[in-house]
Subunit: 152 residues, 2 copies
């Protein structure tokens, strides 16, 4: 196999068929955790974007593919824990239960994944769209949920 | 972004989260078609393996991930068009209808995709397993199916 240079003009150019398609664990451990602790990232593939500054169709990147962003959450009320996820044309609303992200050996919870659906309009009368966002957050020893007994 | 060498000892080593995850069109156009016409491949990522020489769990590669192989079909009868897909412990059996693979612009059928399920035992009394294989074949002008009218 010949040696190929995958960097061109500072952009990662991979052969056809190769893409950024991380597992939940990779996203949390290799990217989100390093970002939060200001450690070097394995690749500069995830831009920092305030995901609520834009409507989903205006976010940067190829809308035909999954897109990944680093974003901070904005509190809805100064002293509250709820997040404000309103955009120009609508709002993101959580659906279902948050999912625990465990290491592949299954013995440690490293993150949580929330699924959100985009609604056009104003709550509570918005109309549901097909836009989906998954919000990953880091779980550290300090904020770890009660660990479930996982089957061996 | 720094320059990274993704080749180590002749093996492609990508940053975490990057993997071979081709679309059907990429598989057919960039890999299968080039292979059949003996053109250089974009990457040496797909080994040549007789997929019926081994049971699915014994095929090379990481069983926890999707694996890709180039394989030739063996005719069941000398003059027939049916394929023989028996392995040591069972057999692959087609399920559902073959799917047409169109270019992303939607105006050309470039391949067909057949889904097969692995059964343990001998036909017709084998027991269904969770092993799934997708068989891609090239469609050329000579063997193209009737083109459907696709909506614009």
């Amino acid at each position: 196999m010949e040696k190929i240079d995958f960097m061109k003009n500072g952009v990662l150019r991979l052969p056809p068929g190769f893409r950024f398609h991380p597992t939940d664990e990779e996203l949390v451990v290799q990217y989100l955790k390093r970002k939060i602790f200001a450690c070097p990232l394995p690749a500069s593939i995830i831009p920092e974007v305030d995901v609520c500054k834009s409507d989903p169709w205006d976010l940067p990147g190829d809308v035909a593919q999954e897109r990944y962003f680093f974003s901070t959450r904005e509190a809805k009320y100064p002293n509250g824990n709820r997040s404000n996820r309103a955009t120009g044309s609508g709002y993101w609303k959580a659906t279902g239960l948050d999912k625990q992200i465990a290491t592949s050996r299954g013995n440690q919870i490293v993150g949580m994944k929330k699924t959100l659906v985009f609604y056009r309009g104003k709550p509570p009368h918005g109309s549901r769209t097909d836009w989906i966002m998954h919000e990953y957050r880091l779980v550290t020893a300090a904020n770890a949920p009660q660990k479930k007994n996982l089957p061996r």
